[in-house]
């Protein structure tokens, strides 16, 4: 048990895995001596640089993620830093190929690759784009988006141990936003949502920063006598369908949050799943809250308005209660 920030927990998980397994190495732009933007790889160069396990690369996203894929195919467990999720468009083919390999090889090929990416509206102005939803419609790829330091630690270790290509999302508004207890004994596995707060009146589905806002909103709602359950998806692909359905069946109401624009958002999968498999238990229409279908705006004032806020979550929940 140690108190750490999200950033520290993420780096600690990588360092612990690097100590445990010589096949784990890190790679990306400016992650060596520089330590990565926002200190995303701080300390790794000092500990593992001399062994050649901290590799700075040229600005060639497709190829350095591709190098990760190839190294993962032949025995290594690379943790590749994409820097920002903004650059996901440049490495789609690599995810597509890597995701197909296990199936297409007849089950012989494994691709234990983690690609990390910072994203999200936050203190680091710009680079906010949330493009992860594209990877939902890509077979064989996993997507993880922790909402707190403890999960960041456990999920990063699980992602490194997973034998599939994983996109690991690091929200910049959570990155240095205070320390929390990190339990390094948490059992490790991907694919499980958590009930971040229990409730009985409605279920709020969220991940990353949206989970934090949902939890804040749930507090406010509690003061008004509304008991909101917050389901933190944690693994966005594949979805933990059982946990998602159980919650909605219990509460009968669903509010689905998204930091990505609403159209084509991964959150629509949650809504569609509920509409198909929890329909009979729903007492009200499913409610979605997401930014408008525009690129993330630059001006702080617009950026703020763009994301679902605590206030808007509260008022959507109240609407839902009718």
């Amino acid at each position: 048990m140690t108190r750490m920030t999200f950033q520290q927990a993420t780096v600690a998980a990588i360092a612990d895995e690097m100590r445990a397994d010589r096949d784990v190495f890190v790679m990306g732009e400016d992650i060596g001596r520089f330590g990565g933007p926002l200190r995303s790889n701080a300390g790794l160069f000092e500990e593992f640089g001399a062994e050649g396990r901290v590799i700075d690369t040229p600005i060639s996203e497709g190829t350095f993620v591709g190098v990760g894929v190839g190294a993962a195919m032949y025995g290594k467990r690379p943790v590749v830093d994409l820097m920002f999720l903004e650059f996901l468009a440049l490495v789609m083919q690599q995810f597509l190929d890597a995701g197909a390999m296990h199936y297409y090889s007849g089950g012989t090929q494994r691709v234990p690759l983690v690609v990390r990416a910072k994203f999200g509206v936050g203190p680091f102005h710009g680079h906010a784009y949330d493009h992860h939803s594209w990877l939902m419609n890509m077979p064989g790829v996993k997507i993880v988006a922790p909402s707190n330091p403890d999960d960041a630690y456990a999920l990063m270790r699980a992602a490194i141990r997973d034998d599939n290509p994983v996109l690991f999302l690091e929200h910049m508004a959570l990155y240095h936003a205070g320390k929390a207890e990190v339990d390094d004994d948490t059992p490790l596995s991907l694919g499980k949502a958590s009930i971040a707060r229990e409730g009985t009146d409605l279920s709020i589905y969220a991940s990353a920063l949206m989970t934090k806002r949902a939890l804040a909103a749930a507090k406010v709602l509690a003061e008004d006598g509304i008991s909101a359950e917050v389901v933190d998806l944690r693994t966005i692909s594949p979805l933990d369908e059982a946990t998602i359905l159980t919650s909605a069946r219990k509460t009968g109401r669903a509010l689905v949050l998204s930091e990505a624009i609403g159209r084509g958002s991964s959150s629509n999968d949650v809504a569609a799943l509920l509409a198909e498999q929890a329909f009979g238990d729903l007492k009200a229409p499913i409610r979605r809250l997401a930014p408008p279908n525009i690129p993330t705006p630059f001006a702080r004032e617009l950026e703020r308005e763009y994301l679902p806020s605590e206030d808007r979550i509260v008022s959507a929940a109240k609407d839902l209660m009718g």
Binding site: I59, Y129, P295, L302, E305
Partner: protein, 319 residues
């Protein structure tokens, strides 16, 4: 474009303008990407283009590129500050994305490299229209490692597009030294696509300007693309608040001593092209101009969130 008698003064003006706005914006915004050390390269590349020419500038120097194409200083600064009076109404960043209506292709979704392809498209449009306009594709040494760079050069050479590629080689990319980013030589890459390619001293504004004149004339004549590699040095940090603990202080100081504005100043005076007083006057005027523009921009209104109209994402049919 023939070189007018005014060219040396104009180059000097662009160089000092670049330095002045760098200091003013940098003092305000720690994320501003500093231009110190690269003023000669920037001025030499962007001086003297014609109205229909299109530029995909390297992000470091994009504001100067817009100014050279006639953009309004205050409006650009409002864009750096996210004000509603900006060309883009506060929706984007004018530090990396200039007004397209003036021929500027910016970093829309933030990735370095693809704008070189867009510039090639603008060059193709000029060619299809039979115009003598050209397109410039400018990129950093780090950006040269993007596959886009190779694809765009090959495409421009195969299609014989009226285009000039310029590498703003400041020998570093964030913290990555040239040798850790770029194997071999960027000039040799241009040559490997069969296009005239030359390395010039990026701290010598006249050398950059001469190389540009030759390449743009060639492109306007319909003789196809060229590459110019301007070798210089990023005296500035990656951005203003960069702690720069990854770099050798002495090397920075060595390059600071070679700084291009003092060098060009000395040349202008020695050749009797301008007097020291003339140049001082230009400096003072620019300080005044940039300060004023920045102050005005600061007072401009921020965008009203309520006006954030998602409908604007699609262009409506023209009436």
């Amino acid at each position: 474009m023939t070189k007018s008698n005014q060219t040396p003064q104009e180059l000097y003006y662009l160089m000092v303008q670049t330095r002045t706005l760098d200091r003013v914006i940098g003092a305000h915004d720690g994320h501003w990407h500093g231009l110190e050390g690269e003023e000669a390269t920037i001025a030499g590349i962007y001086h003297g283009l014609q109205k229909g020419d299109v530029i995909a500038p390297h992000y470091r120097g994009a504001v100067s590129a817009a100014l050279a194409k006639g953009a309004d200083l205050k409006t650009l600064m409002a864009g750096c500050l996210g004000r509603s009076t900006a060309y883009h109404k506060g929706r984007h960043r004018s530090d990396i994305c200039g007004p397209p209506e003036l021929g500027l292709i910016g970093l829309y979704a933030g990735s370095l490299g693809p704008p070189l392809g867009y510039a090639a498209g603008a060059a193709l449009a000029a060619k299809l229209d039979g115009r003598d306009d050209i397109a410039l594709g400018v990129f950093g040494d780090g950006t040269s490692s993007r596959g886009d760079c190779h694809e765009a050069m090959n495409m421009a050479a195969v299609l014989r597009l009226p285009m000039v590629f310029v590498c703003q080689n400041n020998q570093i990319a964030i913290s990555t030294e040239l040798s850790a980013g770029v194997a071999g030589s960027i000039t040799a890459r241009g040559a490997s696509f069969g296009m005239p390619s030359a390395e010039v001293d990026g701290n010598d504004v006249i050398a950059v300007k001469n190389a540009m004149d030759e390449a743009t004339a060639r492109a306007r004549r319909g003789d196809g693309p060229s590459l110019i590699e301007c070798k210089s040095y990023r005296v500035a940090g990656h951005f203003y608040s960069d702690a720069e603990d990854y770099r050798d202080r002495e090397e920075i100081e060595r390059w600071r001593a070679k700084e291009p504005i003092a060098r060009f100043r000395a040349y202008l005076i020695a050749e009797g092209i301008q007097t020291e007083e003339d140049l001082d006057r230009i400096d003072a005027a620019l300080t005044e101009e940039v300060d004023t523009a920045f102050k005005m921009a600061l007072e401009d209104p921020v965008p009203e969130a309520a006006l954030l109209a998602p409908d604007d994402v699609y262009a409506e049919a023209r009436p």
